[in-house]
């Protein structure tokens, strides 16, 4: 360094300056010396001019919220986005909507190199906020409510309200006053919120991002746990919205896979008829034990399904058939009973019918081999003569499985969609644009 350079300021000045309140004499620490504009005396609640070496009193206010202290105490340091910040200011603000006051808290954070940053908290919902460097563009031409374009992303108007400050503590980079009003407008693109604050003739834009209380608690090494978040906040990221597309994509992929599988099996299924026989049950038959066995038939090829179809020309009658499909070589048997019934008639509503004259059942995974059926028909004691036939087909596709698979995929997709929609509805129900009810309860 050449000798002509001005001397670098010798010893580093302590950054925190200790002063005394001109009103009550209590000690006041200035943490953001030279950058703070207002500082509040914590003991007498005077708002002081931090730029003035004598700390001129700007305003005093009644302490109203000793029961509402900052959750992150002034002077606490924590790391946000890789930078250390110190909490130097705290204010409570409120808006009034339909006669009800809603309170939220704002924390001023400071780093002597990076400047100011803010945290807001409303019912356990936190936002990490910075002043915008770029000006958003408000588009009122194409959309009502208006949208804001910020860095190429569209933010939807959420709420406009008049905010009132009712409690302040610590240091602020602006001239803070209790009772000051600002008209605040929020636009959202979860997890971000774009806010404009208009005070007299100045508009300040800020950009916030939703941050979970537990992450702040670990960033600031705070004891205990953060207050639990109540309800859905305006820019709270939906736990479902990111999934929703993925779920439907997965559904589409699996459904397509299922369809291909189904077509493949349908095409490759032989549907080979291996047995057909008709039987007549005359009036008064069967008598007592009536089971009989069929001739053997061969089921060849791979292990696959067997379809047994029972057809009966019943009219206002039923037949019940007990079957056993028996492997002649191993003795392995599948027992099942099927009913065929058909009723029809005519009443005041016209003709009606119930039931079908055929019934099919599929026995899955039957090994190849020689098989026969044992058949035992049962009928009403006073039945008319009935002809029934039994058909056996080898290797038929089982379409019911695909239906079940399809439903198994569809249900979670619908569930996720439903939950996402209801999450968005609770979000917007707090806005200036509440959604209309899904089910119209009024008749007008």
């Amino acid at each position: 360094m050449s000798s002509g350079l001005p001397p670098i300021q010798g010893a580093p000045k302590p950054q925190v300056k200790a002063l005394n309140c001109p009103k009550c004499g209590a000690a006041i620490m200035l943490r953001a010396l030279g950058q703070a504009i207002s500082v509040v005396c914590a003991s007498c609640h005077s708002i002081l001019d931090a730029k003035d070496p004598n700390l001129a009193i700007l305003q005093t206010f009644d302490k109203i919220t000793s029961s509402d202290p900052p959750l992150i105490p002034l002077g606490t340091r924590g790391k946000i986005r890789g930078t250390d910040y110190e909490v130097i200011g705290f204010e409570r603000r409120n808006i009034q909507v339909e006669g009800i006051r809603y309170f939220w808290h704002e924390y001023v954070l400071f780093n002597p190199y990076k400047g100011f940053r803010y945290l807001t908290e409303y019912q356990g919902h936190w936002n990490d906020i910075a002043i915008c460097k770029e000006l958003p563009i408000i588009d009122t031409r194409f959309s009502t409510p208006p949208e804001a374009n910020y860095l190429g992303e569209m933010y939807k108007h959420f709420q406009s309200a008049d905010a009132n400050t009712d409690y302040v503590l610590g240091e602020f980079p602006w001239e803070v006053r209790v009772g000051e009003h600002a008209s605040v407008t929020d636009y959202i693109h979860p997890p971000r919120v774009l806010s404009s604050e208009r005070m007299s003739n100045e508009v300040t834009w800020s950009i916030g991002e939703y941050i979970y209380g537990k992450d702040l608690w670990s960033a600031f090494a705070l004891p205990g746990s953060p207050p639990e978040a109540q309800g859905v906040y305006e820019n709270e990221p939906s736990p479902f919205s990111t999934n929703i597309q993925a779920v439907w994509m997965a559904f589409a992929v699996f459904a397509l896979g299922l369809l291909i599988l189904m077509i493949g099996f349908e095409a490759s299924a032989k549907k080979e008829s291996v047995f057909h026989q008709s039987y007549l049950l005359s009036r008064g038959e069967p008598k007592g034990e009536s089971s009989f066995v069929t001739n053997t038939f061969n089921l060849d090829g791979r292990t696959s399904s067997v379809e047994v179809t029972t057809s009966a020309g019943v009219q206002n009658d039923w037949i019940y058939v007990n079957y056993a499909l028996i492997n002649q070589d191993t003795g392995q048997a599948w027992d099942f009973g099927r009913e065929v019934s058909f009723y029809s008639g005519y009443d005041s509503d016209g003709s009606w019918s119930e039931g079908k004259q055929t019934d099919s059942v599929v026995v899955p995974s039957v090994q190849p081999g020689n098989y026969y059926l044992r058949i035992e028909p049962e009928v009403d004691r006073s039945h008319a003569p009935v002809v029934y036939s039994v058909d056996v087909r080898r290797d038929v596709p089982v379409s019911a499985f695909y239906g079940i698979g399809f439903l198994a995929l569809l249900i979670p997709a619908i569930l996720v969609t439903w939950r996402s929609v209801s999450f968005e509805r609770s979000r917007w129900s707090e806005s200036d644009h509440p959604p209309s009810p899904i089910f119209n309860t009024g008749d007008n």
Partner: protein, 211 residues
Amino acid sequence: MTQRAGTCPDCGAKIIFKWSSSVQTVCEYCKSVLVRTDVDLTKVGQVADLPPDISPIQLNTEGSFRNKPFVVIGRILYEYEKGGWNEWHFVTNDGTSGWLSDAQEEFAVSFPVNGPKLPAESQLQVGQTFSWNGETYTLSVITRAHFRGVEGELPFQYWDKSEVNFADLRSSSRKFATLDYSDENPALYLGELVEFEDLKLKNLRQFEGWS
């Protein structure tokens, strides 16, 4: 470039100019405001001690903007009803003079622009838009500032101001503009808001307990 040197007419301290085009400097020992004439230095005024602040920038802070290294050689400090800000005067390694403003650590780099016809002070209104060099700027705030002091080398004489008006204009990108009504003829500065990290600053002030 040979450094031009001189002697403070008030206290005799050696004065070295880091930038050959500097018009004014402040003697770092006796705080005399010195203006360069053809032959020597003339004392034109005296600055009071500047109020303590914690801008992380200081004289001799080095950095880089658009890959051009620069060094801070001077400063103007302003105050207004809602605080104060610094305009740090820097020169780049190719001799261009520019400004790094630090308003509550919102940093912006700007350069003077000659040419465009500028609106008169009385015509200004918040919300007006202007187009310069292909960019649209919206007037966001008019600030009535109070000149508080100077330090180091400046490209013009600037030490006896009192109230000055500035108009800040923003755009939908990071570009911004300032209209400076310090003189009879308004001056336009165009620049952009920058992130502290992007300036790659060295030789910053040290703050106890912070790194």
